[in-house]
Amino acid sequence: MERQAAYLRNALFDQGYLDEQFLQLEDLQDEANPHFVEEVVKLFYTDSVRLIQSIELTLKNTPWDFEKLDNIMHQFKGSSSSIGAKKVKKECSQFQEYCNVGNVEGCIREFQEVKQEHAALKRKLENYFQLAREAR
């Protein structure tokens, strides 16, 4: 079980889902905060849902407020980077680039990518945390 958890964790790094910032979170986990990583990830997913909804709402209003979209995505990117969500962060940057040039189609397409990577990482991390808990 422990080996499975370790395997899952390493795969997340190898496949580019997580970067070294996740290692920083793991370093901060200690006896005083034994579930710190999982708690921070949960917090991220709670808060980022709100940001995604905010983007969706902004996309419903035309003409598009590219500045507002960029600002929300900027916060989303910062939050993602603080937990080491490498792919999510990359898609956020790509969305911002489309925003900067006012590329509507690009933004719509890229927003789907952001949501997909966001959801994929959530599933993978939930699996990993589950296995890690069972291994203890």
Partner: protein
């Protein structure tokens, strides 16, 4: 880490809750005493209320009052502690404006143990 018997104190200013939690934990791990603020106005209010800190970690983009505005306001009040800017905007005019507002240094997010170590080294030099 102590300064003449008392812990080094830091203020984390960021509108993102996840970032506040991570940055605060990181600083506490280094033995610092920390407080948090959600935006520049809250940070300024803490100083106005008489709080002092050895350094401030100031996010650039925040609602109500952003990093550059808060930094300018603090410096105008005579606050001379270290103010460390953090941003994920990279190099550019916004970063330059932020630095010109009165930062001691500016780092790219996310904050990590290495950056905190560098900040504490700078602080030690500043205080010696």
């Amino acid at each position: 880490m102590k300064k003449g018997g008392r812990k080094i104190s830091a203020l984390v200013v960021d509108d993102d809750r996840v970032i506040r939690v991570v940055e605060e934990k990181l600083l506490v791990r280094f033995g610092l005493e920390t407080k948090v603020a959600k935006n520049g106005k809250e940070a300024l209010d803490l100083f106005v209320a008489g709080n002092t800190f050895d350094f401030v970690v100031m996010d650039m983009e925040m609602p109500v009052m952003d990093g550059p505005e808060a930094t300018r306001a603090l410096r105008a009040r005579g606050v001379d502690c270290m103010i460390v800017g953090v941003t994920s905007r990279g190099d550019g005019p916004e970063k330059a404006e932020f630095e010109a507002a009165g930062l001691n240094c500016c780092w790219e997010k996310p904050l990590n143990a290495q950056i905190v170590g560098t900040i504490l080294d700078k602080l030690a030099k500043k205080l010696s």
